[in-house]
């Protein structure tokens, strides 16, 4: 049991350190610690705008959100790894060649993933917080509590994601029914029983008032949902051949306005035919967005000058750029490298696919505006959404090319990403707090975006493509 886990841990370390060197991978948690340290030093400034309780809610839900996103990878992780490393080249595929059950492998894989995320993100975050605590007179004991509650919050998000993805692979209708029931119960709880769902997260209430009962409750949620996922996981061996009618030409014909029509259709077929199908969109995009919506609805009640739609639009722009990651997950440039195709051509085709897929985000923004009933700031909201999503996409493409989900774990690239993104986001949020119409300046981001895209094409064309 532990041998498998140990080997998986080594495998994970080696696969990342081979990609961009041991040092850059090793430095990644150091960068997280530095960010957490600086962020903690700014807490007294932030406390002028938000109450300490509100900051605690924000941080805990960010880790739930993180767990949800990581869990979404479980939906299509197998196919991504198949593509990247080839069939049966990793321990995760050993059940086919060695006497180990798929469930045992999955359990080890789950523990390995949790350990890695703990070491790469959660622990460095808390270390950064602990290091800064004495400077702003926070008791060090809070660090210990925070380590427990953030780890459990992450695990709750992760197990929720696994739970829903397990239901999804069995029945999409059942998933929709459960989600609708959850929304109904939430409305019932908040409107008739006046229960604040946001504050009822057990890890959060443990943070405010520690008690063993809340820890047991958190662990019960995690264990119940994870056990359900492991017991009911669907073992899907690729022995069944899936057949499809040739739809490449017909669909490309509908997109003939684009010179990348065939590439766009290929991206669409990748998403549609791969494991999880549209479920990937629900788990890795709409779920985090729903939590963001929930968080903003609470926080913006205490920030009277801000407008929900405008702030939501700015964050939506950043989150929507993550859709570029999906588009690159199923493709390796090695599949094109022997054909007369440039790297920049593949990137441009992905950008075209992104523009089409990003209409989902625009529809969400329109729906959020309609739900809120406030159309006054709709135009600056749309403009800032478009500007931020183009800019964050340009930054992602410039820094990571066709490999965003791999190269962002390079400490240097992650740092650059953070430095290029955060000042812009902070500036837009502050501007919107003064007056949402100030966001009419956001289209100015088109200039750096255009510049970064142009530089990206030259940069990645001249790069020797790796084989990961």
């Amino acid at each position: 049991m532990f041998e498998i886990l140990k080997s998986m841990m080594k495998e994970e370390w080696r696969s990342h350190s081979t990609m961009f060197g041991s040092l850059m991978f090793f430095l990644f948690p150091v960068v997280i610690s530095i960010f957490a340290f600086i962020g903690t030093l700014f807490l007294p400034v932030l406390e002028n705008m938000l109450a300490t309780d509100q900051i605690a809610i924000l941080v805990h839900y960010l880790f739930v959100l993180f767990g949800l996103s990581v869990g979404a990878f479980g939906l299509f992780g197998r196919e991504v790894m198949n593509r990247r490393f080839g069939q049966a080249s990793m321990i995760a595929y050993s059940s086919r060649t060695l006497p180990i059950s798929e469930r045992e492998i999955f359990l080890n894989f789950f523990i390995k993933d949790v350990t890695y995320y703990f070491l790469l993100w959660i622990l460095p975050f808390v270390i950064g917080f602990a290091a800064a605590s004495p400077f702003i007179s926070i008791n060090l004991s809070y660090s210990g509590i925070l380590l427990t509650t953030l780890t459990l919050s992450f695990l709750i998000g992760l197990s929720i994601s696994f739970f829903f993805s397990t239901i999804y692979v069995h029945s999409f209708k059942l998933l929709v029914s459960i989600l609708l029931l959850a929304v109904f119960l939430e409305i019932l709880a908040s409107n008739f029983f006046y229960i604040n769902l946001l504050e009822s997260l057990p890890t959060l209430s443990f943070f405010f008032v520690p008690s063993i009962k809340k820890i047991i409750l958190s662990l019960s949620i995690i264990l119940t949902l994870s056990s359900f996922s492991i017991i009911f996981m669907k073992v899907d061996y690729p022995e069944k051949k899936r057949r499809f009618k040739n739809s490449l030409g017909t669909l490309a014909n509908k997109l003939r306005f684009s010179k990348y029509s065939f590439f766009i259709v290929k991206d669409f077929l990748d998403l549609k035919r791969s494991e999880g199908g549209v479920g990937k969109i629900i788990f890795s995009f709409l779920f985090p967005l729903a939590i963001l919506w929930l968080l903003l609805s609470v926080f913006l009640k205490i920030l009277p000058f801000s407008d929900f739609t405008v702030i939501f639009a700015v964050f939506l722009g950043v989150i929507s750029s993550s859709m570029y990651n999906w588009l690159t997950e199923f493709d390796l440039f090695t599949a094109y490298s022997f054909l007369p195709v440039k790297v920049s051509t593949v990137i441009k085709s992905k950008l075209s696919s992104y523009v089409l897929i990003n209409s989902i985000s625009l529809i969400i923004l329109i729906l959020v505006t309609l739900t809120g009933g406030n159309f006054y700031y709709f135009l600056p909201a749309v403009l800032s959404f478009l500007a931020v999503s183009s800019y964050s996409l340009a930054v992602t493409v410039y820094l990571t090319g066709l490999y965003p989900s791999i190269l962002l774990y390079n400490a240097k690239i992650f740092l650059l990403y953070f430095l290029l993104m955060s000042p812009i986001l902070l500036a837009l949020i502050f501007l919107s707090l003064f007056n949402p119409f100030y966001l009419f300046v956001s289209p100015l981001l088109a200039f750096p975006s255009f510049y970064l895209f142009k530089k990206s094409f030259t940069k990645w064309d001249s790069w020797n493509q790796p084989s990961f």
């Binding site: 499809f244 739809s247 065939f262 290929k266 990748d270 791969s274 493709d331 020797n464």
Partner: protein, 238 residues
């Protein structure tokens, strides 16, 4: 006969490893040239260098009159390449993949061209199957088909027979020999010496990145030497 490609002092280093070391080589039109060598000797790196998939550390290469370093896309437009690892996109069917390649290569009569290959290599019943669900042998047939789809004059093929059954191997070998007799040139990487001995017109032996022998099969036959014995002797002496 003119040279279809020519390299001068071609070198590729990966860190401290010299994968290709100062190779000056040329192949004439209509030849079926076999590049032979043990695992890791530099055969695949040579193909990647000659088709502009990677950049050389030093040296030059010209393929069909096009400078590979200056215009790699131009080279790949003209030639066909069959990579060592068969990795067509997972979620396209075999037929969709050939149509996709045809679109990239701006070809007409895609239906007719792809059906020819499905029939020739006997995998018509697999054309609507997703590439990821195809057997390795069928994926190799598919990659072979995409290599010749645009009827190139020069092809680079890396271990093309390794996963194929004997019936298809025979068909592929016959096709390659006919292609060469009709004026096409083949750069064929392999470590299966029996196949090279059977179909190649000339050979080169590469060992630790260096070409240690270059000559025709006729020369070898004149010396009454089996390729296997000759190969082992050359590698031992190198």
């Amino acid at each position: 006969m003119k040279n279809v490609f020519e390299t001068k002092h071609l070198t590729k280093n990966f860190g401290n490893l010299k994968a290709v070391d100062n190779v000056s080589l040329s192949v004439k039109e209509g030849e079926l040239f076999g590049l032979l060598g043990p695992n890791g000797s530099g055969k695949t790196t040579m193909v990647k260098l000659l088709t502009g998939q990677i950049k050389p550390t030093k040296g030059t290469a010209t393929v069909l009159g096009v400078n590979v370093l200056k215009n790699p896309i131009g080279v790949r437009e003209l030639v066909g390449v069959m990579p060592e690892q068969e990795n067509p996109p997972s979620f396209l069917t075999a037929e969709e993949y050939l149509h996709f390649v045809a679109k990239i290569r701006k070809l007409e009569d895609v239906e007719e061209k792809s059906n020819y290959w499905f029939e020739l290599l006997d995998f018509e019943d697999q054309k609507d199957v997703l590439c990821k669900d195809l057997s390795r042998g069928t994926r190799q047939k598919l990659m072979f088909a995409q290599t010749f789809l645009h009827e190139p004059k020069l092809v680079f093929i890396d271990e093309p027979l390794i996963n194929l059954d004997p019936i298809i191997q025979r068909k592929v070998k016959d096709y390659l020999m006919d292609f060469s007799k009709n004026g096409g040139t083949i750069f064929f990487c392999t470590h299966v010496l029996e196949i090279a001995e059977e179909i190649c017109t000339s050979i080169g032996i590469i060992y630790r990145g260096r070409i240690i022998y270059e000559g025709t099969m006729k020369d070898l036959k004149k010396r009454r030497q089996h390729l296997e014995d000759f190969f082992l002797k050359m590698v031992k002496e190198a």
